[in-house]
Subunit: 556 residues, 2 copies
Amino acid sequence: MEDAKEQSKSALKKAEKQAKMAAAKAEKAAKQASLPVVGGKKSDDIIGITVSKTENFPQWYQEVVLKAEMIEYYTEISGFFIMRPATMYIWNTIRKWFQERIEAMGVEETSFPMFLSQKSLEKEKDHVEGFAPELAWVTKAGDKDLEVPVAVRPTSEAVMYPYYSKWIRSHRDLPFRLNQWNSVVRWEAKQTTPFLRAREFLWQEGHTAHLTEQLAGEEVLQILELYAGVYEQLLAVPVVRGRKTEAEKFAGGYYTTTVEGYIPSNGRGIQGATSHCLGQNFSRMFDITVEDPNEKGKHIHVWQNSWGLSTRVIGVMVMIHGDDKGLVLPPRIAKIQSILIPVGLTAKMSAEDKEKHLKHLDEIFHTLKKAGVRTEVDLREGYTPAWKFNDWELKGIPLRLEFGPKDAAKDVVSYARRDTGEKGTIAIAELTTKVPELLETIQQDMYNKADTAYRAHRLQITKWDEVVPALDAKNVVIIPHCLVPACEDKIKELTTGRSDDAAENAPEGQKAPSMGMKSLCIPFEQPGGLVKGETKCLNPECTRLAEQWCMFGRSY
Amino acid sequence: MEDAKEQSKSALKKAEKQAKMAAAKAEKAAKQASLPVVGGKKSDDIIGITVSKTENFPQWYQEVVLKAEMIEYYTEISGFFIMRPATMYIWNTIRKWFQERIEAMGVEETSFPMFLSQKSLEKEKDHVEGFAPELAWVTKAGDKDLEVPVAVRPTSEAVMYPYYSKWIRSHRDLPFRLNQWNSVVRWEAKQTTPFLRAREFLWQEGHTAHLTEQLAGEEVLQILELYAGVYEQLLAVPVVRGRKTEAEKFAGGYYTTTVEGYIPSNGRGIQGATSHCLGQNFSRMFDITVEDPNEKGKHIHVWQNSWGLSTRVIGVMVMIHGDDKGLVLPPRIAKIQSILIPVGLTAKMSAEDKEKHLKHLDEIFHTLKKAGVRTEVDLREGYTPAWKFNDWELKGIPLRLEFGPKDAAKDVVSYARRDTGEKGTIAIAELTTKVPELLETIQQDMYNKADTAYRAHRLQITKWDEVVPALDAKNVVIIPHCLVPACEDKIKELTTGRSDDAAENAPEGQKAPSMGMKSLCIPFEQPGGLVKGETKCLNPECTRLAEQWCMFGRSY
């Protein structure tokens, strides 16, 4: 009994807090819109999304990440974004999931300084060339010039590997695996987009060393599968696993594997996360060797990998699942999985009946909590249920549960799914099983919907003339390709041009030329039909034979 | 049965891995010492600590953090350190403990950019003056000069508060609380020391806003108590809670509370962590206001706090508990709490007997694991038990468990405590209760020992002539003080001078003058005996009356 009382109290406290928050929000929205606040309430249109996802995808995206309070633009310095609590919850969920799995693999955590010296950076030629244009250089401390400027890490190969040479002394130290969670800076010249392209972003970077190419290669794929798991199992986002072409691989690496996503709204491909085998390039430059266990006196340069997953994953998730009402969160990464809202409490009802109903609601709330469902109850006063519905829809909460006197009479709770809008009822007696089941169904359905869209827009094409129309129809294409970098450049050039469809979303008066396509990956799952030594590269200006099916697309 | 098999297998695998590691280490040690490896083994002196804690405390500390593999010096850029897995385990344990508690308080997580603009920094005059000399300035991106240089955050007040003004719109948004885990850069001119003073360090920084001074003040103390908890409950380090004097408070803040530690080896005080009330200084400068809930139309500047705890805590722990054998870890933050080592396996024993004994050992290992004790078993071959003992002592493992045929005959396990060296036996039947109990005893005893030392060296002094001798005898002092900044400067000057004792640890040929003392804090627990309006400030050159007892000391 004491317990129930305490719980009731805490629910009341929470309700009070939520009421405060809501009123504050209305006031805020009014301030922003320079409109007077009427009775602490505001109409829906101010907090809602003002453009449709289909009509203006870039603005829709910007509004969603801002209004769902995931992101704030850092106006002090362009290209930087503030990650708000709604974002950090998702990132921490991903972090925990991934961290548990790499710990089980034997990867240990470390933390290296954020700065690197020119000297260590320059050790690997391709690497420095790849990153130099985007390096942020610290040249002064206080009012004194530094003797030697230092750069903020864009990635930590050059920061870490001088120490690998010191720490790895014998083949018995292998595999040697470290990971760190930090932020890196790449001073992009291109236009930045929240989550997808920022001058600073959060990520994890793993750096490992192995005795043989084979052992390194096994880990590359093991990690890639974890990255696919973050997308598919947590974010309900399908990805294509594959290898990057030479032109698109990591600067200084041996080969790069990748999971590639797809944004149906604009038909663009997007790199999801990459797991690189660095080969022996870095170990040669940084002198990381061990004695060959099979041949005394012979030294082997270790085989290295590096792999990273960034907050970009969150942006991909928003773009794929969101709709005109706002964010749509997959249940597994939603801080609030279901929101419980009282409805049908008319002015005519007696205070006693209301109290009784709210007590019933509170019991349902605690039933759900106990069943492990991340639930909140919205008891804010002065707001219509409709207003609350919109508010929680904007924030992407997967499942809305409504409870009114009519529901109570039937011993049910009414629900509405955020992803499909589907409505129904659940018997109160079955809540503890049905709600978790429904959340899992939502998770699965969200994945299936995205997967269906991706599969429908991944076209296997063998006629060059079909390529640009396919891109314009928001597809990515899988074509026979020679895999030669110069050919990729040419393909990009040939597919760049004016296209009404692609320019549709460009700002008024600035109809941009349509973007050329680039290679996304060589999918591990190769379709049939390519005859080695016979099938030609699809590029009409290329005379080479095709090596593999390669996925191309307009991309982020 | 299948389970037991699997467990045995995993124990074997672990043993193999450990054997590999050990052999690798011996080879490494030999390489470093340029000595040949004899049968994969090396003598103890190479991996052990070469100086005594009493004789050369600075070098002892450096050796401990290096050889226990907590830290690596970042030789590329001076003043930076690499945090190795042994450190990150401790930091993550602290992080988890603290994070759970602030989450329960309603603090949410955020992530702001690492750079700040000159403009926002300059808004609070004292703040910019306090941090300007240590700012790292990014002036170039790639090969282009930035139009406006940006600084790496030394702390995030100036990064975050422009947005607080946007987000806090109503008193219903209060309390508004955000925290972030990140690293900050302060380009110190002073000599750096691993953990204690580094140019970049990991920390958490909380930034909150409240309606009233009282509400802000309550949180300041709530957080301070959590900081004391990190030291006292996790790290077994006693601290004194108090307020900083005006001279020592946070630049731009209203008042600063602190937990102050003490290093017995050199008698120095060390600031543990600080929780600041910023008052309304920043809210005025950044225009963070809400409407007074009690007076329509009247606007109130919010009351702000900021609070931070850094990796410094780990250094304090090392300095206090370590001994001539190396690190000593309190059980609650030790990744490995007990290490199980087979002993007495003579060459004369039959293979069968050995196998039987190791099977028994494996059962003990799994019994401990099941009891929730973080245990490893050291089955490395080619090493004497004595070598293993030294190795695990260097790493600070709280409890060594030995198991030999003689122990088996008596159904006991022998143990040795890392903190006291005390030895004894535990009946195997009682392991699951006795080992956790013993670990808790070790934790408590470590705290008590440090607490006794601190109390014995915190001298309440009322005669000026006793001050410097007290400092020279490695005490901190509590004296009646006027709390005026100029008087503190004078006290520092008066206590700076030559003192053989203090100069003892200076490098050969560079006998330094002894360090002057500075104020550490005004302890919340004030001793009696100070009569307001009567007791004089202890500084002989000060004519003012004493306000409070103030703790002074030589310090980090």
